[in-house]
């Protein structure tokens, strides 16, 4: 919680200073509440992704500092009854949708209000984003921000950062997810990209998002065994393999106990 407070303070400061320093510019350049501005940049997919030599140009965008929490999502389903557990259609979310909640409008003991919401489908996450006048980040956007450690944009060269991510895979899943904001934010000011949950992205099932995009009719079929190592620039980036692998197995209505999301918004001036 301390971290959360610090991060929020930083966000607030950053937002304020942005307003001052860019006085005279358009108002929409300052980050909306709870979001930070990610400056435009070049993203080089380490594994997966379109094969490019120069990387992929990303426009600047805003990204939520924290994953969407249970209480945030509760507000959404209050206003949008069709996304309540009892009313959602199976095509939109599978049987496990929000199953850690006690009821339609009740979080209960297994879902802390400030813990990230999980057991949500892509459809539900997307609908929430629209309701917030936001959208889901793309794979590239998400990976670009998630590559940064607390101190540098190329986190893969920060041994402590890499170790911390890897160690998440060696620790058991908690029965009940903790609150967001338990760890340091990265250098963009975005927190909890690693070590808490997996996150939906808008284009999780794009053909190039498979580690070795050979097509094929089976989800994740390209990921098995040594085949996954073909065509990847960084074979030692195990966490990235796992994220791409995880996304490769998803379907739009799937819900998983440790899969949540956060929202993005295009910055004015970009597409």
């Amino acid at each position: 919680m301390l971290y959360r407070f610090i991060i929020q303070s930083i966000v607030l400061l950053a937002t304020t200073s942005l307003c001052f320093s860019e006085a005279g510019r358009k108002h929409e350049e300052s980050a909306p509440a709870g979001m930070v501005l990610i400056p435009a940049g070049l993203f080089k997919p380490q594994i997966g992704g379109e094969q490019t030599t120069n990387g992929i140009r990303l426009q600047s965008f805003f990204l939520d500092v924290f994953p969407v929490s249970n209480i945030d999502f509760l507000q959404f389903v209050r206003e949008k009854p069709r996304w309540r557990r009892s009313q959602v259609q199976l095509a939109g979310a599978d049987e496990s949708y929000l199953k850690h909640w006690s009821g339609d409008l009740e979080l209960g003991p297994r879902a802390f209000s400030n813990a990230p919401v999980t057991f949500v489908s892509w459809y539900a996450a997307t609908a929430y984003s629209f309701w917030k006048s936001k959208r889901l980040p793309t794979t590239y956007e998400w990976e670009y921000v998630a590559a940064a450690s607390p101190t540098r944009p190329d986190g893969q060269n920060d041994p402590d950062f890499v170790r911390e991510i890897r160690n998440w895979y060696s620790t058991p899943s908690p029965e009940i997810l903790p609150a967001v904001g338990g760890k340091r934010a990265n250098m963009y000011g975005v927190a909890d990209l690693h070590g808490l949950i997996w996150e939906w992205v808008s284009d999780f099932n794009a053909p190039w998002a498979k580690i070795n995009g050979r097509g094929g009719s089976e989800p994740g079929g390209e990921l098995f065994c040594g085949a996954g190592a073909d065509g990847s620039k960084d074979r030692e980036n195990f966490p990235a393999f796992m994220r791409y692998g995880f996304r490769g197995g998803l379907q739009v209505n799937y819900t998983v106990h440790n899969l949540g999301f956060r929202c993005a918004r295009s910055a004015a001036g970009s597409r």
Binding site: E28, G92, S96, W122, Y123, T126, A127, F130, W131, S133, R135, R166, N167, W168, Y169, S170, T171, P172, S173, E175, S202, D203, F204, N205, A206, P207, I211, G215, G216, S217, E218, P219, G220, G221, L223, F224, C225, G226, G228, A229, E236, F238, F241, M242, Y244, G245, F246, G248, G249, L250, Q251, V252, Y254, T255, V256, H257, N258, S266, A268, G269
Partner: protein, 513 residues
């Protein structure tokens, strides 16, 4: 300026959200898992049954039926914290809650309907590649399963043999390295030869962040895994899994078959049972007993071997990977305890326990008598005066010279004369010979400040040499007290030990280092 286009975009998105069915994010028109698949009908199988699954070291019973059938296998993937060694825990990724995974036994020609269930609490997606499957990925292409989901596929067990199965999700080495492997036996139509006992033994390695035996929850160490430097090499998933009370057992006169697998992920096993000879080996898990009378058999990573042997002599037989440091230092050790009647003709047990002096002194020779006489003299001398005997002093001087040549001569010179006006001499040195205890303290603590030796004043620094052992200090002082024209008694290690315990450690040591 961009507000209109943004608003338009948002409007479109909102429209999409209101009618999510019209927003299929699938770009390639792939079928979802809910799409109906044609029901598979195999006319050659009769009936249906659920597979019996067992955990190591146990094996499901031999298959008695004479016809192929449909066998339903339900295997649950679970990520669990278990003991890797005493006080050492690890988050294992498992097939069936244990490492190695459940043993699956089917018959040649069976149609296997495979259900892979990934427990809802899993962090990872997983799949399964069974080497017994003919088809892409050995099932991996059809079994990628997210936490809280299940996959189903079927395969025909075409080839009999003993096969490894493992998770093949990228990064595959990590999934295997965390414990995701097991064995599936496709029993030949005619069955395997009858034996009295069957056991399941699977070797594998673990790469942990801490050293061997380091307590607490250990993390997977990717660097060690990539470099193929395992911290643990074990049978059946943990150190001591088949030792003591958990040893596998048999009786004299029985024939034992071991189904041996090697999950790897990296090492090839040189599997050996100390004190037994494999009567039959089915190399690499094939169905032909290709070799008889084998001591050590190779089990490839991602491969298997079957061995059979009859037990003739009671006792404890130790299973090892004969790449022997793995057994001695990393845990690759199990036990087979055999009870029954002694067979003294096959193995007598210890008949003679006597002294052996080696080839240089054959019994009855003059050399043996000389050695024996000398040893007796030494013994008597030590008994008579353990502190001082001429012989031990000579040895001390010889050993002390070695220490002197490594440590002291740079300053005090080879002839013990020191350096004019800088380093005091040791040769015929009154200061040295006047006080034995002081010289011991001096070596332990070093010395700074004025000292008068043989009437000359020196003001230098001597480094404390308390890193030398008691014996080394005793020897080197015995050497200098009996060299360069000096003559004195020996310094004994016990004296050094006593003085060291009475002397505070050198406070100023750091400045010399």
């Amino acid at each position: 300026m961009n507000i209109p286009s943004t608003s338009l975009c948002m409007a479109t998105l909102l429209a999409g959200a209101l009618f999510y069915g019209a927003l299929p994010p699938r770009t390639s028109g792939q079928a979802t898992s809910q799409a109906p698949r044609p029901k598979i009908i195999d006319p050659s199988v009769v009936g249906e049954e659920n597979a019996v699954l067992t955990q190591a070291p146990f094996v499901p019973p031999p298959i008695k039926r004479k016809q192929a059938t449909k066998v339903i296998v339900k295997l649950e993937v679970k990520e669990v914290v278990r003991k890797l060694s005493d006080g050492v825990e690890y988050l294992f990724w498992t097939f069936g809650g244990e490492v190695p995974g459940s043993f699956i036994r089917v018959r040649e020609g069976d149609l296997v309907e495979f259900h892979l269930n990934n427990h809802p609490t899993s962090k990872m997606p997983h799949n399964i590649d069974l080497h017994a499957v003919t088809g892409p990925g050995g099932g991996a292409a059809s079994s990628f399963t997210l936490p809280g989901h299940t996959s189903q596929f079927s395969f025909k067990a075409l080839n009999p043999g003993l096969y490894v199965y493992h998770c093949a999700t990228a990064p595959v080495g990590m999934h295997v390295g965390n414990g995701m492997y097991g064995l599936i036996l496709v029993e030949p139509k005619e069955g395997l030869p009858r034996v009295d006992k069957e056991y399941y033994v699977m070797q594998s390695e673990f790469y942990t962040s801490g050293k061997f035996g380091e307590e607490g929850l250990q993390f997977f160490d990717q660097n060690k895994a990539v470099d193929e430097r395992p911290t643990y090499v074990v049978f059946n998933g943990s150190v001591g899994s088949m030792v003591g009370d958990k040893a596998i057992t048999a009786n004299v006169g029985e024939t034992v078959r071991l189904f041996i697998g090697n999950g790897g992920p990296n090492l090839v096993s040189s599997f050996h049972v100390i004190g037994e000879i494999f009567d039959k080996v089915y190399p690499e898990g094939g169905t032909l007993p290709a070799q008889h009378n084998v001591q050590t058999t190779l089990v490839p990573a991602g491969g298997s071997t079957m061995v059979e042997f009859k037990l003739d002599v009671p006792g404890t037989y130790v299973l090892v990977d004969h790449s022997i440091f793995r057994a001695f230092n990393k845990g690759a050790l199990g036990m087979l305890k055999v009870s029954g009647k002694e067979d003294l003709i096959t193995y007598s047990g210890k008949e003679v326990d006597a002294v052996y002096l080696g080839r240089q002194a054959e019994a009855g020779s003059a050399a043996e008598k000389t050695v024996a006489t000398l040893q007796e003299q030494v013994k008597q001398a030590i008994q008579a005066d353990p502190k001082i005997s001429g012989l031990t002093k000579e040895i001390q001087i010889a050993k002390g010279k070695q220490v002197f040549m490594q440590t002291c001569f740079v300053c005090h010179q080879l002839d013990g004369q020191g350096v004019l006006n800088q380093i005091p001499p040791l040769a015929k040195a009154d200061y040295l010979m006047a006080d034995k205890e002081r010289s011991v303290r001096l070596v332990l603590q070093g010395m700074t400040g004025d000292v008068v030796v043989n009437g000359k004043k020196y003001n230098g620094i001597m480094t404390p040499l308390n890193n030398l052992s008691d014996e080394e200090i005793a020897n080197v002082l015995t050497y200098v007290r009996n060299s360069f024209g000096n003559s004195g008694d020996a310094v004994l290690p016990a004296e050094v030990r006593r003085i060291r315990s009475e002397t505070p450690p050198p406070a100023a040591q750091a400045q010399y280092e």
